[in-house]
């Protein structure tokens, strides 16, 4: 009953599905403004993270101003409790935060993607047992678990990365598994099997390209969560306190009574920076996910109804 807006001959085998390779991303960027905005933000921060050590105006290891010095022409965002320039702190902190975010996500993706593909492709008892494991892991409350583990293993950036990765792979695994299962049943995969292609080859040549865009969307969204969690762990004192990350910036501000000192500049900019990256990741990841959703965006309800055009003239050539 959907309105006939597409070529009916394409619907049959899913051969015309949109999730194929590079052209897909180009289309998403062309059609969805949110994706462009999101990607720009991400690129901006990645570039910033790379060049931070070179363009930071002041050192983050040697103090360069008074404790909680307010914003001034020399220090645009003032200084923190140790006399370090806030702008430099934010730049270098961003670098580390992004690295932690990306690394943790890499861990999560590798585990989650691997589990998802194995589970989805082989099914049966492999699937059953792997899904049981994810069920149990999903039940454990994230932050508390991380607190406990970070405490047991000690507070370091490396441990934070591992811990975030261990807890975040389950959603990825679920999504990838579902996608792999649906792709597995497609005609061209069955054909490849029939021709004797080995499992690895099938996964590599046929399944991964289809799963790719979804994996990328999920990766981006997981990066957002990882960065968010890093700030939370840092705030709770579970990260190396000497490391400079956006999370430790906030933690320092809280512990060293920035608020009662009136030093809002030690708090406000960090939050906006974190939010900016997360918003960027969210916009891009969500836009890609939406584009992959094959459902036609038909709307039978809307505040704006269809239009009536006046008939101009008569006969078949009219209008």
């Amino acid at each position: 009953m959907t309105l006939p807006l597409q070529d009916p001959l394409l619907s049959a085998e899913g051969e015309g599905q949109p999730s194929h390779r590079a052209g897909f991303f180009r289309t998403v960027l062309k059609e969805r403004k949110a994706a462009v905005v999101g990607l720009s933000i991400i690129v901006f921060f990645v570039v910033l993270a790379i060049v931070a050590p070179y363009i930071a105006p002041y050192s983050v290891t040697e103090p360069s101003c008074a404790v909680y010095a307010p914003p001034s022409p020399q220090h645009w965002l003032g200084c923190d409790d140790g006399g370090f320039d806030m702008v430099s702190l934010l730049m270098v902190g961003g670098r580390i935060s992004m690295i932690v975010g990306f690394a943790a996500t890499l861990v999560a993706m590798i585990i989650g993607g691997g589990v998802g593909i194995l589970s989805g492709y082989f099914g049966g008892w492999v699937d059953g047992s792997l899904m049981r494991v994810t069920d149990y892991l999903l039940v454990i409350p994230d932050l508390v678990f991380m607190m406990v583990i970070a405490d047991l293993w000690g507070a370091s950036l490396f441990h934070v990365i591992i811990v975030i990765g261990i807890l975040e792979w389950t959603t990825t695994a679920r999504i990838i598994r579902a996608q792999v299962m649906s792709v597995r049943e497609r005609v061209y995969v069955k054909r490849a099997r029939g021709m004797g292609a080995g499992n690895f080859r099938i996964v590599w040549r046929h399944i991964l390209p289809q799963v790719g865009p979804l994996l990328i969307a999920n990766t981006v969204l997981t990066i957002a969560i990882a960065i968010y969690l890093e700030t939370a762990l840092a705030f709770l004192g579970l990260e190396d306190p000497t490391a400079v990350t956006w999370g430790t910036i906030l933690e320092n501000a809280f512990q060293r009574t920035a608020i009662s000192s009136g030093a809002w500049w030690a708090i406000v900019p960090a939050g906006f920076a974190i939010a900016a990256v997360i918003v960027g990741c969210f916009l891009f990841g969500q836009a890609v996910e939406d584009a992959l959703n094959p459902r036609l965006r038909v709307a039978y309800l809307s505040i704006r109804p269809w239009r009536l055009r006046p008939l101009v003239g008569r006969g078949p050539g009219a209008i």
């Binding site: 009953m1 006939p4 807006l5 597409q6 009916p8 038909v298 269809w306 009536l308 055009r309 009219a318």
Partner: protein, 321 residues
């Protein structure tokens, strides 16, 4: 004056990031009470959009032009606001794939009774009772009204959808592919039900389908649609035995026999895109007997014999077949 008269109906869609699609291009036909009329064509030819437009059920990115007259009143004149008043009371619709057409979290009886209460036909207990009667009329025990749609089989759901459509005693019933996705035995029952209802209740029935045996069984008259236009219209007998448009001929020839299971139409090629200008006859690329004229001139729908119209240049040839 006919009960239903559609005159020069056009529908356009504006998809996001794409050119405007002219989905329905100047469709006209008329129906009297008790008549059963078929609208035939392949997927995407605009037949579903046409009947949806008859009730003004278009999405926000659509625009329409033309007239839909019920008892002489143009119900589309005021756009969405005015057409609401006619829905279900004068014209009602049975949708295809009634699985999703029924609300999964509401009981079936409630869904049948709801429009009655809203349009003031019956309230409360009386409405529920009438819903039960309607269910009986379509061959379902009244007690089933207390069930949810997922508890019904496909055929029962379709019957329930028909009962629901009759709730406010409409004069016109539109049925959009009511038998697709049902197996053959159930198909036959539903078609018999529709035929019987049209006869007993004096309904004007518009049956939309891509399945020719269905049209042959139920409808006295039919129109064949292609690329948004009606290319031939007339008595079903005439369309079958004396088609005057190559598309109609190929359609009916492609069907193995009247009671065949396989309704897949295999005419080589594909319908034209409706988002651009088409010069000449839209069927020309797939036609097996094209003339030179067909490349430049779009044929008009013209009378070829009593009550039988076709849009093909071949009908102008002396001694044409």
């Amino acid at each position: 004056m006919s009960l239903l008269e559609v005159s020069g109906l056009h529908v356009w869609f504006e998809p996001p990031h794409a050119a405007e699609v002219h989905a329905v291009q100047g469709v006209s036909f008329a129906l009297d009470a008790g008549e059963r009329f078929g609208l035939v064509g392949e997927s995407g030819c605009g037949k579903t959009t046409t009947v949806l437009a008859l009730m003004g059920l278009l999405p926000p990115n659509a625009s329409a032009a033309g007239e839909v007259l019920i008892d002489g009143q143009n119900i589309l004149a005021g756009g969405e606001d005015s057409v609401q008043a006619y829905r279900w009371k004068d014209v009602a619709m049975v949708f295809q794939g009634a699985m999703n057409a029924l609300n999964p979290v509401k009981k079936v009886g409630w869904q049948i009774a709801e429009p009655m209460a809203f349009h003031g036909v019956a309230q409360g207990a009386a409405a529920r009772k009438r819903a039960g009667e309607l269910l009986e009329m379509v061959g379902i025990p009244a007690a089933a009204g207390d069930r949810y749609p997922h508890e019904f089989s496909g055929g029962m759901r379709q019957r329930a959808a028909i009962a629901m459509a009759l709730a406010c005693e409409p004069k016109i019933l539109l049925a959009d592919e009511p038998t697709t996705a049902l197996d053959v035995m159930v198909q036959a029952q539903i078609l018999e039900l529709l035929t019987g209802l049209a006869r007993d209740l004096g309904l004007a029935l518009v049956l939309v389908t891509h399945d020719l045996p269905v049209v042959a069984q139920v409808c006295e008259r039919a129109a064949v649609m292609y690329a948004g236009e009606i290319v031939e219209a007339g008595p079903t007998e005439a369309l079958y035995h004396n088609p005057r448009h190559p598309y109609t001929r190929l359609l009916f020839a492609a069907t193995p026999d009247l009671y065949g299971r396989d309704a897949v139409i295999s005419i080589p090629g594909a319908p034209p895109r409706l988002d651009g200008e088409i010069t000449g006859c839209p069927f020309r690329p797939r036609c097996d007997v094209p003339l030179d004229r067909c490349r430049d001139e779009d044929p008009e729908l013209r009378l070829v014999e009593a009550g039988h119209r076709a849009a093909c240049h071949r009908n102008d040839l002396v001694g044409a077949s």
